[in-house]
């Protein structure tokens, strides 16, 4: 387990004002030869602050980079890291691809279901955990892997997972975002 106590901290809901957010986005966009190129970085930033990409956020980003809301939604639905709704506080992104499957991703999935009562796509009732199956995370040497929010938790097995979930559940909620 990581010694970094920040590992797995929730993102989202930083409470930043619309105006301040807009300024941050303008700064991002300024780095590109064309405004539209700032799209992904802007969406990442908004999601970090707001937790999810609401229709209003999508419209805001569209206005800033000069594309229609439909073309923003197109990105939000194409790229799996973008979420229209704020996920549970701990977003368990369980790798399901071959190397992790060979090393027990299936067991982790079963364990999560058993412990938290959720299957991929589900959120626990207290909103603490959300499970998503994801494709290869690029950490196959430490399979099986779960990415929780921004961090990778590697070389897991059922017991390590239990300990990890306990530890996360016990953490006090963090106010404000990170990064």
């Amino acid at each position: 387990m990581s010694s970094d106590h920040r590992k797995g901290d929730p993102c989202g809901a930083s409470g930043i004002s619309d105006q301040a957010l807009r300024r941050e986005l303008e700064e991002i966009v300024a780095e590109y030869p064309e405004k539209r190129a700032g799209a992904l970085m802007c969406l990442h930033r908004v999601q970090r602050h707001r937790g999810g990409l609401s229709p209003a956020s999508q419209v805001l980003v569209g206005e800033l980079i000069g594309i229609s809301p439909a073309h923003v939604r197109e990105l939000v639905t194409f790229y799996t890291l973008f979420l229209e709704e704020t996920p549970g506080r701990y977003h368990l992104q369980l790798c399901r691809t071959l190397s992790c499957q060979l090393r027990g991703a299936g067991e982790l999935k079963a364990r999560i279901r058993q412990r938290l009562g959720i299957v991929p796509g589900g959120v626990t009732e207290d909103g603490l955990f959300q499970l998503t199956e994801v494709e290869c995370l690029g950490s196959c040497d430490s399979a099986p892997v779960i990415q929780i929010n921004d961090d990778y938790f590697e070389g897991l097995d059922g017991d390590k997972l239990d300990t990890l979930l306990d530890e996360l559940a016990a953490r006090p909620p963090v106010a404000g975002g990170q990064g």
Partner: protein, 547 residues
């Protein structure tokens, strides 16, 4: 197209062709009647190459005459032509690839053809038939999606039928620039959609229905949901504004089922606006004038025409009002009538009211809501008619200077107040009214002659660019009504100018010979795409199937 562009020589299915060096293989094939199936390509949109249906075998001729084939088939829509290129669209490999691709397109397709509006013009159905698709090998569950999504005031989307060709999206990005449509999600779950609360609501939204190669996008207003083979068609011109979009009228039982654009690269490409597309209800609203009337009494045509002629003659110098919806032939005849009825020596008096609304946009729509203003102006100029406003004419009537007014197509009460009209008739003005619908003018009319209106009219019109185009009737006027040209030829002939039997095309040739602006034109030369004034060279668009 005089500027010479570089040419290359290539071979398609053994046919040697010299073509524009910037063309693609698909463009060349379509222009030379070589059939290559395709879905996503559209001549007026960018090339995404996504449907993969248009693959062909391509090679290059070597020095020794042999052909070096490329290892993979290539999509013809994105394959630039080149000197010595050899294309085979018929070999087994290509035919098999087309079949395989069709199989992929059909596995998740609902195959609900019996209830699909697109039957008869579905490219999927057509190519499936040509490719001779057999039994399905697909044993899996189909991907299910929403089948009835309301994406805008005029358009419905069936996501299961959609083949993700992106034509509709590209139209909204590249033609209208409104970008309401986009592709959501990805892979097998990719679907066309709008942003919630931002409907497909631009002045040209109906075009996406035309360009959808399958039945995924349908027009809410497509009336009767007719099976296409029950519909008759006529190639005509939209009367909705001065653009004069080339259109096809689809009709049944003397009613319009729908209007769709016809390709004319110089005028409207293959687009039309929603206003024009949805013109039918406006045209069909209101009460038609059913029979000829003299002073409120129904009479037969003979009597009505004779009576009209005698009143016009009696007036000494009748004036006219003509709606710019009228054809050149109607305008020409109206002028003849005025000239023949008048005493001579004084110029004819004619009002050509403006019908404007909104502004010109940068696609098709014109503020001038009439299809033939420019043409009629040319005629008036050529015949030295004195132009006047309707208010002007009515003032003259009140002043006792005008006693008969030939009104073609206009409702004067929409141009001046009803009181003003009443004052003029009270002062003795006799109105000889050629009209399709009952209105304040027909009610005030001394003589009312029931006439046809689009799409019952044959004739020619001149758009704002100065292009003469042919409007064709879809069906004849109802009840006892006759076309404006029929009525006016008879008036003119009774007044001693011309024969009763003149057909619109003869009238066009006659006016073209006499009006300098039309010099050199004949009806026969107008062709499918029309000709530009003055007497300009005919530019007939390349007729390819544009859908």
């Amino acid at each position: 197209m005089s500027n010479a562009t570089a040419k290359v020589e290539l071979t398609i299915d053994g046919q040697s062709l010299k073509v524009d060096a910037t063309a693609t293989v698909l463009e060349v094939a379509l222009a030379h009647q070589v059939e290559i199936p395709y879905f996503c390509y559209h001549p007026y949109l960018s090339v995404p190459g996504n449907c993969r249906q248009c693959e062909v075998k391509v090679g290059s001729r070597q020095e020794d005459g042999s052909i070096r084939w490329m290892p993979k088939l290539q999509v013809s829509c994105n394959m630039p032509v080149a000197e010595g290129l050899v294309v085979d669209t018929r070999c087994d490999e290509v035919i098999q690839a087309q079949k395989n691709n069709m199989e992929f397109l059909l596995i998740n397709h609902p195959l609900d053809c019996p209830i699909c509006d697109q039957v008869g013009e579905c490219w999927l159905q057509e190519h499936a038939y040509t490719a001779g698709m057999g039994e399905t090998r697909f044993r899996e569950e189909k991907v299910h999606m929403d089948k009835r999504v309301d994406i805008g005031p005029h358009v419905l989307l069936d996501k299961e039928r959609c083949i993700q060709c992106t034509r509709c999206i590209r139209f909204c990005d590249e033609v209208t620039g409104t970008s309401e449509l986009a592709l959501m999600a990805r892979g097998n779950h990719t679907e066309v959609d709008i942003f919630p609360g931002r409907p497909l609501d631009n002045p040209y939204s109906g075009n996406v229905v035309d360009i959808c190669p399958v039945g995924a996008l349908t027009l809410k207003e497509f009336r009767f949901k007719s099976r296409l083979w029950f519909l008759k068609t006529a190639d005509s011109i939209c009367p909705g504004c001065a653009r004069g979009c080339n259109i096809k009228i689809w009709h049944r039982d003397h009613a319009i089922a729908r209007l769709t654009p016809r390709d004319n690269p110089e005028v409207n490409k293959s687009w039309m606006c929603d206003q024009g597309r949805l013109l039918a209800p406006t045209l069909e609203a209101g009460e038609r004038v059913r029979e000829p009337r003299v002073e409120g009494k129904a009479v037969d045509w003979q009597e009505a025409l004779d009576e009209a002629v005698s009143r016009l003659r009696r007036s000494g110098r009748p004036a006219g009002v003509i709606h710019p919806w009228s054809t050149l032939e109607e305008g020409w005849l109206a002028l003849k009538v005025l000239a023949a009825a008048g005493e001579g020596g004084r110029p004819m008096l004619m009002a050509l009211p403006a019908h404007e609304q909104g502004e010109d946009d940068d696609l098709l729509l014109r503020a001038d809501k009439s299809p033939n203003r420019r043409g009629l102006e040319n005629l008036l100029t050529a015949r030295d008619a004195e132009s006047a406003s309707v208010a002007d004419l009515l003032d003259r009537a009140v002043a006792g200077e005008l006693s008969a007014l030939l009104v073609v197509g206009e409702d004067l009460a929409t141009l001046v107040s009803e009181e003003k009209l009443a004052a003029a008739t009270a002062a003795g003005l006799e109105l000889i009214v050629v009209a399709s619908h009952e209105n304040a003018t027909t009610r005030a009319g001394t003589i009312v002659l029931p006439a046809g209106i689009f799409p019952e009219v044959d004739g020619t019109v001149v758009n704002f660019q100065g292009r003469v185009q042919v409007m064709r009737a879809a069906y004849p006027p109802p009840f006892l009504a006759r076309t404006g040209a029929w009525i006016l030829t008879r008036l003119a002939s009774r007044l001693g100018d011309g024969s009763e039997d003149a057909r619109p095309r003869d009238l066009f040739d006659e006016l073209a010979a006499q009006v300098p602006a039309f010099q050199g034109l004949t009806f026969a030369r107008l062709g499918a795409g029309g000709c530009v004034l003055p007497g300009g060279a005919c530019e007939t668009p390349a007729s390819g199937s544009v859908g």
